[in-house]
């Protein structure tokens, strides 16, 4: 930190590091200097002239957003001259503004409204004809109303600097100037809607939300996005039980205000017409709607019968259900059904990484570390497509801290734009390519290595050995696919490992073996679609599926139980970096039950005593029994993320690299959920392609 200097703002002597901008210095000490174009973390514009302040010995008013604080500087932020200038700017801004606040989406949460309310004149002297341009649709997700736009260039900057997409720019001059997408009349971009979020007025509006509600008519639920493994916090705006918007304007959580297209727009699967809302039972070869009690009774009867005769169960868990549900599922399987055949879709070799890191502390990176590390190495992943938050973090680290990013991928990725070095490596040749970066990597005092399923099995050990040999502080992120892929591993949805990676009492069949077993009596699938492209070998198996939709697997089921999505329940999930966060229920969907409740009711039906099945009670049990999950409850209760360190000793590992298979989702696909999101399907970029930049 630079040496502190003292400046005086409104008569108060304040100490700040030299070089701090006056607007920041004031903010740190609770003095508000209003601004539209100033946006923390992005380049300075000095365009809105709202932050003009009076500085002693300087003739003209100075923009506080570009003025570095200097020793002895005397600043006035509320002098008559400043107040007059501010009032003048707002009057100028409103001259061509349509003042359609009563119907504007932003009404009630508009920065322009707030500023005029606080600093503006009560009436305008403007009596001329306003300059007007009609609204434009840029994509299914983004609409632009030039008349409302105040040209603060926030959208231009988040798109260009924040994401490296640069889809927005400025066209025309003077009062005709407006924001224009780089493709002229439409957007071809990440469709993330960050531009909509940062817009201080109602110029950029969201395809899912526009003209649907007033901000004060909604309930807000801060929960975790259910799509990829990054675990972004998203605040759902719920009106009459329906989600109509997702954003994170309070910048809480690990992602601040960032969300990708899935987080911001991909919530509409919740209210899809194809959502299952009643249990289905196969009668005469056809799935017929039945009551919950009938369906549960049918499942319990079958489970009881097969268990009694010592039949063969297969249990497949989910990468999107909560930790509580996963924990309860494995407990149900192991203790309740007495089977060791339990698995889930694995997309990253966390098991091997944890074993390779035995004895090390502080070797697992958190999302926040990606913003502070001096260097990062990305292996075998198109980060901006598959892990958008991690990509945004690395880019911000480069932008703000001049960090170095190294990329080893099979094709072009967006990180190439700023990467210190990019190496193209075919599958299987990644480690050799990483070796060529040895000297460059060793120069940096801290390094985070992010690797995908390209590195699995013994390759993980070799990678960690490589990291050890660099002589710098190395942290790792094992990239995985979905919102609770990590939690499924941690909770022991593995045939050989129980919760916390302890050896299971018995080793059962893995997923491939279950599907291939001809003598399977029962297949119980909770929130997964293993039969999407594989047939179940055991033709006579009784299949029970808990899911949101009638997937390929559900279509083969004998009983389908409609489950609640992550947005409709409480519980915890663990993201790709091992950070536990809490889900909060937002919308409600008629007829569905959370997987935990379904399992609890089944246990009751079967007369099993597996403990109380409420999320809080199960999480209590997890905290006591699963290594590293004894996290501070206030942290997650207040919407924070708590890091877990699942093990610190070795893991009794069985090397099965062929089971680690990433689904290779792009920005616009998200497993089965993505199929039922009209927004994800509807943008022209869908389904997207990896390694095409």
């Amino acid at each position: 930190m630079a040496d502190p200097i003292t400046l005086t703002i409104n008569g108060r002597a304040l100490q700040v590091p030299a070089g701090t901008l006056v607007i920041e210095a004031a903010k740190k000490h609770g003095i508000e200097i209003p601004a539209f174009c100033y946006y923390e973390g992005f380049t300075l514009q000095a365009a809105c002239r709202m932050c003009l302040v009076e500085v002693e010995k300087m003739g003209k008013l100075q923009p506080a957003c570009t003025l570095p604080a200097a020793e002895g500087m005397v600043v006035l932020t509320e002098s008559p001259k400043v107040v007059d200038a501010r009032k003048g700017m707002l009057e100028f801004l409103l001259t061509n503004h349509p003042l359609d606040c009563p119907v504007c989406d932003k009404g009630g949460e508009c920065e322009l409204q707030d500023m005029v309310f606080r600093y503006g004149a009560g009436e305008s002297r403007f009596v001329e004809i306003k300059h007007h341009e009609n609204e434009k649709q840029w994509s299914p997700a983004v609409y632009y109303d030039p008349a409302r736009c105040i040209l603060c260039y926030r959208c231009v900057r988040v798109c260009d600097e924040g994401l490296g997409v640069g889809a927005l720019g400025l066209t025309y001059r003077g009062v005709h100037a407006e924001i224009t997408p780089s493709h002229g009349d439409h957007l071809e971009c990440d469709e993330c809607g960050w531009c909509i979020d940062v817009c201080p007025v109602g110029a950029l509006t969201s395809g899912t939300y526009r003209y649907k509600s007033r901000p004060w008519e909604m309930n807000y639920a801060g929960t975790i996005c259910t799509h990829c493994s990054n675990g972004c916090k998203t605040t759902l705006s719920v009106r009459n039980g329906e989600v109509i918007r997702a954003n994170n304007r309070d910048r809480s959580g690990i992602n601040g205000e960032f969300l990708c297209v899935k987080g911001r727009f991909g919530f509409d699967f919740v209210h899809s017409d194809e959502r299952l809302q009643t249990p289905l039972l196969r009668k005469d070869g056809k799935l017929e709607p039945v009551s919950w009690s009938e369906a549960l009774a049918a499942v319990a009867a079958k489970f009881g019968e097969v268990k009694a005769r010592g039949g063969k169960f297969g249990v497949i868990g989910s990468t999107r259900t909560t930790n509580e549900e996963n924990y309860f599922l494995q407990k149900f399987a192991r203790q309740g059904l007495g089977t060791a055949n339990i698995d889930h879709h694995r997309s990253g070799d966390v098991v091997m990484l944890l074993d390779a890191l035995k004895g090390k502390t502080d070797a697992l990176a958190m999302v926040g570390d990606l913003y502070t590390t001096r260097a990062a190495l990305v292996i075998g992943a198109d980060l901006s497509q598959q892990h958008p938050l991690l990509a945004v973090q690395l880019r911000a680290d480069y932008r703000h801290h001049q960090s170095s990013t190294f990329v080893v991928t099979p094709g072009e990725v967006r990180e190439d734009q700023y990467a210190a070095r990019s190496v193209r490596a075919k599958a299987g040749e990644e480690l050799a390519a990483v070796e060529t970066l040895r000297e460059d990597l060793a120069k940096h005092e801290s390094l985070v290595i992010l690797f995908s399923d390209a590195i699995k099995g013994d390759a993980v050990r070799k990678l960690v050995a490589f990291g050890d040999s660099l002589g710098t502080a190395v942290k790792y992120v094992c990239l995985q696919d979905y919102s609770n892929s990590r939690g499924a591993m941690d909770m022991g949805l593995l045939p050989d490992l129980g919760p916390g990676y302890h050896a299971a009492p018995a080793t059962g069949l893995n997923m491939d073996q279950m599907l291939a077993a001809k003598d399977l009596d029962v297949l119980w699938v909770v929130g997964a679609n293993p039969l999407e492209d594989t047939a179940l070998a055991s033709e006579g198996a009784f299949v029970v599926v808990q899911d949101l939709f009638l997937t390929e697997t559900a279509g083969r089921a004998d009983v389908v139980l409609p489950a609640a999505s992550a947005y409709e329940k409480t519980g915890t999930v663990t993201n790709v970096c091992g950070e536990v966060q809490r889900l909060k229920q937002g919308p409600k969907v008629m007829g569905v039950k959370s997987d935990l409740e379904i399992m609890g009711l089944l246990a009751k039906e079967l007369g099993l005593s597996l403990g109380i099945w409420t999320p809080d009670k199960v999480f209590e049990e997890i905290r006591k029994t699963v290594h590293g999950y004894n996290v501070a409850l206030p942290v997650i209760a207040t919407g924070g993320a708590a890091q877990t360190t699942p093990v610190n000793g070795g893991v009794p590992v069985t090397v099965r690299p062929e089971l680690i298979r990433s689904a290779g989702d792009t920005l616009f696909t998200s497993g089965t959920l993505g199929r039922y999101s009209k927004m994800l399907q509807g943008v022209m970029e869908a389904p997207g392609e990896l390694y095409k930049r």
Binding site: L44, Q45, A46, A47, C48, R49, M50, L52, G59, K60, L61, T66, D84, A85, G88, M89, E91, F92, L93, T95, N96, R125, F126, V127, E128, I129, H131, I150, L151, G169, L170, Y172, R173, G174, V175, H176, A177
Partner: protein
């Protein structure tokens, strides 16, 4: 070719090779025959510091409008920087009333090339651009011919006059924006971006074209340099008044008998320029007002015009020398209509970057058009002044000031005319509600 008849009161330095009537541009042979590239030869034997010192001694001030001391500007460049240094010529002559750079570009491109070479030598540059407004098609072609000649003769290229020093120079065409005459917007445009002004600091001397140290000067400024080097800074300074060295081109336009571009020493009385060089107000009419330095400079009433025309005296009189475009207006001039037209220009040219300029110029243009139509009220007259004051000193770049200054001065000095417009209006219109009077 446009070249007016020379006047005996002119002091010919920049234009000393010009002949009247001039048929063709001064080619390289004629230029060299008349001491051309002699200054470059001399500069190649001088140290960079010596060149800059000579320019400092000359009291040469930027001829683009701001009047910043040229030698001082050059000395800000960090010559030890490992980055390349660049020379940029601002030939985006856009200030209404200004037509001096085109004379140089058209008649004597070699003088500009030689000035750029000397400047390049002074800051250790190997590359320069002449940014010419797109409307100057003829001038771009003339300049390209001069550049080709200079390359052919070895004055430009990898080995300038056998010195081993490389210097390359080319023209770059602007795309039609007044704002691109602002040096940082010009650099943005040169880099292929939208011509918006940049945040300052850093100034171009630190971070200019392509983030490298750059000096940006007007055509006339560079063109003055060869004679300064050849005959010495002190000789040049002595031509003008203290701190206002040398001669400058004055663009006389408006209601005059002999308008045109004349070269005068700095400090020549303004009335002498108007009455002698310009031949006085035409048609025997009386003088009503003078805009002394381009449309953005505050207007002067006849009684304010008995001053020397140099940077400091005009500043003292509350106006500015600006680009040297002196517009003379006779007693029949409709000052309200003129102001409305000037503001329409600025509203059209505002780049839109900052709020006060973008909205303020458009608003003012509408009010002024309304006043001109006789559809205003007395309140509107006050509002013109208040809005202009609300813009003045608060915009991102100087364009806002350029629009505000004439508005304030017109209302202050010719308020009676504004009031008469309202009083003489045939129809009183409280405010236009149906038809836009100005479609910008």
């Amino acid at each position: 070719m446009l070249l007016n008849k020379p006047h005996p009161l002119e002091v010919k330095v920049l234009t000393r090779r010009y002949e009247y009537p001039q048929k063709d541009a001064i080619g390289v042979d004629e230029y060299v025959a008349k001491e051309g590239y002699e200054a470059l030869k001399k500069a190649l034997d001088m140290t960079p510091d010596a060149i800059i010192d000579e320019v400092k001694k000359s009291s040469l001030r930027g001829r683009g409008g701001a009047g910043f001391p040229t030698g001082l500007k050059w000395s800000f460049v960090d010559r030890k920087s490992p980055k390349p240094k660049y020379i940029v010529v601002n030939a985006d002559e856009g200030e209404p009333g200004t037509c001096k750079d085109r004379v140089i570009l058209e008649h004597e491109g070699h003088r500009l090339i030689e000035g750029c070479l000397i400047a390049g030598r002074a800051i250790g540059s190997n590359r320069g651009w002449i940014y010419i407004r797109g409307e100057y098609r003829t001038q771009i072609e003339a300049m390209d011919r001069a550049l080709a000649e200079a390359y052919a003769r070895g004055y430009l290229g990898d080995n300038v006059m056998g010195s081993g020093w490389a210097f390359h120079l080319s023209t770059h065409t602007g795309a039609g924006s007044y704002e691109c005459g602002e040096e940082s917007a010009l650099l943005e445009s040169l880099e292929g971006k939208r011509g918006n002004p940049r945040l300052k600091p850093p100034f171009p001397a630190t971070s200019g074209a392509f983030q490298c140290p750059t000096i940006v000067n007007n055509v006339e400024t560079y063109s003055a340099v060869p004679d300064i080097i050849l005959k010495g800074g002190e000789w040049y300074a002595a031509l003008g008044t203290p701190k206002n060295g040398g001669t400058r081109l004055v663009c006389l336009s408006g209601h005059l008998v002999t308008p045109g571009v004349y070269e005068v020493p700095l400090g020549m009385p303004l009335m002498t320029i108007i009455n002698e060089l310009g031949g006085g107000v035409w048609k025997g009419r009386k003088l009503k007002a003078v805009i002394p330095g381009g449309s953005s400079s505050p207007v002067l009433r006849p009684e304010e015009c008995d001053i020397p025309a140099d940077y400091d005296s005009l500043a003292k009189a509350g106006s500015m020398l600006g680009s040297g475009a002196t517009m003379v207006l006779d007693e029949t001039t409709d000052m309200v209509k003129l102001m409305a037209r000037i503001m329409k220009f600025y509203a059209h040219e505002s780049c839109g970057w900052c709020i006060p300029c973008r909205e303020g110029t458009a608003w003012l243009a509408k009010i002024l058009a309304r006043l001109d139509e006789g559809a205003g009220t007395k309140k509107d007259i006050d509002m013109v002044d208040e809005l202009a004051q609300g813009m003045f000193g608060r915009t991102f770049c100087a364009l806002g000031d350029a629009a505000a200054m004439p508005a304030m001065s017109f209302v202050k000095k010719f308020r009676g005319e504004f009031e008469a417009k309202i009083a003489n209006a045939k129809v009183y219109m409280p405010a236009p509600q149906t038809q836009p009077l100005v479609v910008l």
